[in-house]
Symmetry: C2
Subunit: 328 residues, 2 copies
């Protein structure tokens, strides 16, 4: 796998291919960034982006993780001291999950978002961005409630974070794509470059396969989960014997979250996946890549229940180090 393939592996969107190819030609010392609002426990959404960050580090890039304490404060997640403690716990879990400590910098938003130049640049972006342009960036992230002025300002802060963190590559889930497109549009207005971006896929809802898995609704998997929790959740998961399930009775599209977790979480971290089976059921199955596992599920060679059992064991191995940090 060459650097470009490693950098773009499993991503849903590359913006732009030419820019990422240029970056892949000399990745050493280049810097990728992702931002999160600090929360006590890493969930599978964080882990998916973290997996991409680990791959980027393997390709030679450095990584900045922005822990957006100012936004957490504004969203009533506690005092700045409390949020900083939460951020510290989150940092430990990221490292336990496999980020390379030597190549990872953790930065709090409050370290630069109150600087005079940052505030002035933010006002300049506000002046150069129409409300209707900002609203197009918001829609996917918040909807169904009356939009607030902050929802027009926060995407501009994210754009500015990219500048102030001096990164070469912005990483985010697909829910961040509109914000990153806004950043590409507006940063030239303050004489800054449009950021290069990679967007990671979103996992389908674990129990139904309809819509996206969310940490706020439905079932999610987090670093707090015990082996038994993971077992229970994965065993109850939607996993038809195909990567392309039919829509449900209401016509909603469905995906296979068990296969997705294999593809986006397990295979990027393990050279080989072994599905253990008793000899009487055909013995162990060994996969060197995700595609072979998917093909066996489609053909009936691999039973969904056996796939789930294997998934529990690999997921548990990924989660165990972070879980220990939480319990420590």
């Amino acid at each position: 796998m060459d650097a470009y393939e490693r950098i773009t592996r499993n991503v849903s969107e590359v913006v732009t291919e030419d820019e990422v190819r240029a970056l892949a030609e000399a990745p050493d010392g280049k810097r990728a960034y992702v931002g999160y609002e600090p929360s006590g426990v890493l969930h599978i959404g964080h882990m998916l982006t973290a997996t991409k960050l680990i791959e980027l580090q393997e390709a030679g890039l450095d990584v900045t993780v922005l822990l957006a304490d100012v936004h957490a404060y504004l969203n009533d997640k506690g005092s700045f001291d409390e949020i900083r403690e939460t951020a510290e716990r989150m940092k430990e879990q990221f490292l336990a999950y496999g980020l390379d400590e030597e190549k990872t910098e953790f930065v709090l938003g409050s370290e630069f978002q109150f600087d005079r130049e940052y505030v002035l640049d933010l006002h300049a972006l506000e002046l150069n961005t129409t409300l209707s342009r900002a609203e197009r960036a918001m829609a996917e992230i918040k909807s169904g409630e009356s939009a607030k002025v902050s929802q027009a300002v926060y995407p501009l802060m994210q754009a500015l974070d990219i500048v102030y963190l001096d990164v070469d590559l912005a990483i985010g889930g697909m829910e961040q794509r509109k914000v990153h497109m806004l950043a590409r549009d507006v940063l030239p207005a303050i004489e800054e470059e449009s950021p290069t971006c990679l967007h990671t896929p979103l996992i389908a809802d674990l129990s139904t396969g309809v819509g996206k898995m969310s940490s706020s609704t439905g079932t999610t998997i987090s670093m707090e989960d015990s082996t038994e929790d993971i077992e229970e959740k994965v065993n109850a998961a939607f996993c038809p014997p195909t990567a392309h399930p039919d829509p449900d009775d209401d016509g909603n599209d469905r995906e296979n979250p068990v296969l997705q977790i294999f593809e986006y979480h397990v295979f990027p971290r393990f050279q080989q996946v072994v599905v253990e089976r008793p000899e009487e059921y055909g013995g162990d199955l060994t996969y060197d890549d995700y595609e072979s596992l998917e093909a066996d599920l489609e053909s009936g060679e691999l039973h969904p229940m056996d796939a789930k059992t294997a998934l529990v064991s690999y997921l548990d191995e990924l989660i165990a180090p972070g879980r220990e940090k939480i319990q420590a």
Copy 2:
């Protein structure tokens, strides 16, 4: 005239009457504020608010004039150093116009608008204000172009300025009323009091009486004007022999800007206004209040041309000290 009458004299709106009555009971040491973007030369719009500030000082209040250098910078009015120089010239003109130096504090926006607590409170207001609420505050100030995010943020900064300048009374032209109403609505969300406000009237367009006088379109009077400039502008002004002119041929409402300048600029500053006339035309006319002058214009006793000649002389007396500062 009691304190309440002096404080509310000539204002178009009092918000609320009860609040201003309470303030008028002990006005000494209370603080009123007005904000302007620094511009090199005071025009008649600034002077109208300044006249109100002088009356407030006579009633015992202190005054803070906010010179919004950050906004001037964002609006490409020069470097911060250049804008500070402009602000200094503006300050001199305000004092020359008659503001009491002992009771006037001039503050630059940059002195507090970059403070961490201010920035954090601004973000909190953004989070607590819907875009549609902010848009209602914007409409009157900017229209006809595509609204920018800044137009939703600036009114919130104005609200916060009132808090950080620790003022008891916000003063502005009627074009500021929606911003002040927004401030009254949103400040309680960050545990701050709704500000008490006074709004001064807007003078009609000098040459037509249709619409409002504007420093950017049409004729205005400024501190740069020579006696001859004032003479030329006032002589060309729309001044029918009535305070209530008929609409123009297109049905547009008209007002009498010459009378308005007597009412809002001249009478608040002079105990008595004398219209000089040769003996053969009836000799001098002397007015102790605006109403008598208006009545004489309506009755035909005072000819518009004589009213204009008197206006030139009083306006020139008001403007001369500031003009000297500009030329110095």
